[in-house]
Amino acid sequence: MSLQELWLLLPVLIICVGVLTLMLQAAWQRNNVLAQGLTVLTLTLALGALIRQYPTDMRTITLLFEHEPIGGFFSLLLLMVAISVALLQGPYMGKNSKEVAEEFYILLLLSCLGSILLVMSRHVASVILSIELMSLSMLAMLAYNRERKLALEGAMKYLLLSGAATSLLLLGFALLYATSGQLLLTQMLSSPMQLVAKSGFVLVVAGLAFKLSLVPLHFWTPDVYQGAPVNSTLLLTSLSKAAVFALFIKLILLIPPEFEADMVRMLSWMAIASMLLGNWLALQQRSLKRLMAYSAIAHMGYVLVAGVIAMGIDHSLVLEGASYYLLAYLVASILIFAVLTLLSKLDEQQDLDDLPQLQGLFWQHPWLASVMTLAFLSLAGMPITIGFIGKFYLLTLAVKLSAWWLVTAMLVGSAVGLYYYLRVIFTLFAPLQRDIQQTSGAYLSKMWIGVITAGLLLLGILPGLLGDELRRILAIG
């Protein structure tokens, strides 16, 4: 391992140093504000390092990792999510929280570390380790308030099912290894594929589909979402989905041609089922977190459309579309959960979650409600938000490939989706019933939310700012 390779790993190393610093701090003096400051500082430095050496071509870092443009973009997204969570955790815990803060930030950094490593992985060993590093650290955050029974149960459920999914993933990799004798992702899926290798790949896809909560492996999502503290839910819905999707699309682009038709069929059905079922089940929810869970299922279905199409046409457009859509999804999720976080407290038994509790938010806290409205409109794919551009990309791809089933499912799904997103928005604008308290102060967090909201609008109104840039960034050789 050369010095140059280490240099390429700089963002990751910064996060590692951050973890160690936080542990030292916890040993020296417990202080919530200091811990938060250190975390944000670490993540910002990592972000800076990543931008400073943004990859322009593909370079390998030892056997295990690679440094390439798409991964770089996803890492940017992941750091953005992690910074949001770190900034929100302060107001969410409050100054006199019963829980200590350091562990949360350590776990946050570890989870972010795992996700970035996952995006950079090119080897089975690194995939397994980083995916587990990400999920296990997240798991402890899902049950961070140990007095919430629902959170503990959700975390337990996630642990058990995610363990099963991991074993499925491992089994799939083992079968691929057994047939190819290779552990590098690029070489594992060599042509021609035998039946054993094919079934191995299907198992791998199933294992990842679980983490992405795609139908039919979605059933855990609503329970886990509802139980967990809202800030951890944000991490689960954005960080893990984005990182796993990065790996997912990387694998899909490697599928040898003779297996393509089968995979397209399988993934198409998964995408269609996720879009329809997710949207349909979201209709009946009163709990906002459950609603977001089903909405996540549906949105992962939309992103999968890009994955399905990846096999059909030119890859750069697909990557661009998928990245844009994922960015749109992340931004909207961050904003929605951020508002909920500012209206909830970790110490309490429950977060603000029931839809009627939000009634009339606009008239009491117009800014928070506007942010939430914009985020929901973006999820619904309304113009002048970034969500519309994402949907536009995906529809263009699907129409270009004449994948009419996918188009139909997207349209039906969107139409159904409109209804429940609108229901939430309408609730925000209904007459105020009772006082809703928001965390006062927390100016830094609110400023950050403002920045992200501005991005949501800016990229929705001037999509060229990113769309043209992405094309340049993602242009892989």
């Binding site: 089975v124 060993a125 397994i128 380790l129 587990e132 296990l136 798991l139 402890a140 049950a143 140990r146 029974k149 629902l150 503990l152 149960e153 959700g154 975390a155 337990m156 459920k157 642990l159 058990l160 363990g163 099963a164 991991t166 074993s167 491992l170 089994l171 990799f173 083992a174 079968l175 290894y177 057994a178 004798g181 552990l183 609503p222 329970d223 509802q226 139980g227």
Partner: protein, 101 residues
């Protein structure tokens, strides 16, 4: 002698299936954790098999990583279990299941 690799994978499949049955059928969280261990073990065996098939040390390395993962999962799982035990006196997952609906 060589172990026919097919037989090795049949063993993997059977072990994994037993684990899955346990995970699906048992309601006691502790047993579910054990079933999960069996499944992870089956996956580990698969890598050893594949490694011995290709006569590479890589299979064993993945094995080592898998037991690391298993150790971390068990640690967290048991910690959760201890905490859950404080809320409910027994470990029936159905009783935990107020979330559904």
């Amino acid at each position: 002698m060589t172990v026919p690799i097919e037989h090795g994978f049949v063993l993997v499949a059977l072990l994994w299936a037993i684990g899955l049955i346990g995970l699906l059928a048992r309601k006691n969280t502790l047993f579910m954790l054990m079933s999960m261990e069996i499944m992870l073990n089956a996956a580990a065996l698969a890598f050893i098999l594949a490694g011995s098939l290709w006569q590479q040390a890589d299979g064993q390395i993945i094995y080592i990583l898998i037991i690391t993962v298993a150790a971390a999962e068990v640690g967290l799982g048991l910690a959760l279990l201890i905490r859950l035990r404080a809320h409910v006196s027994d470990l029936n997952i159905d009783k935990l299941d107020e979330l559904r609906g």
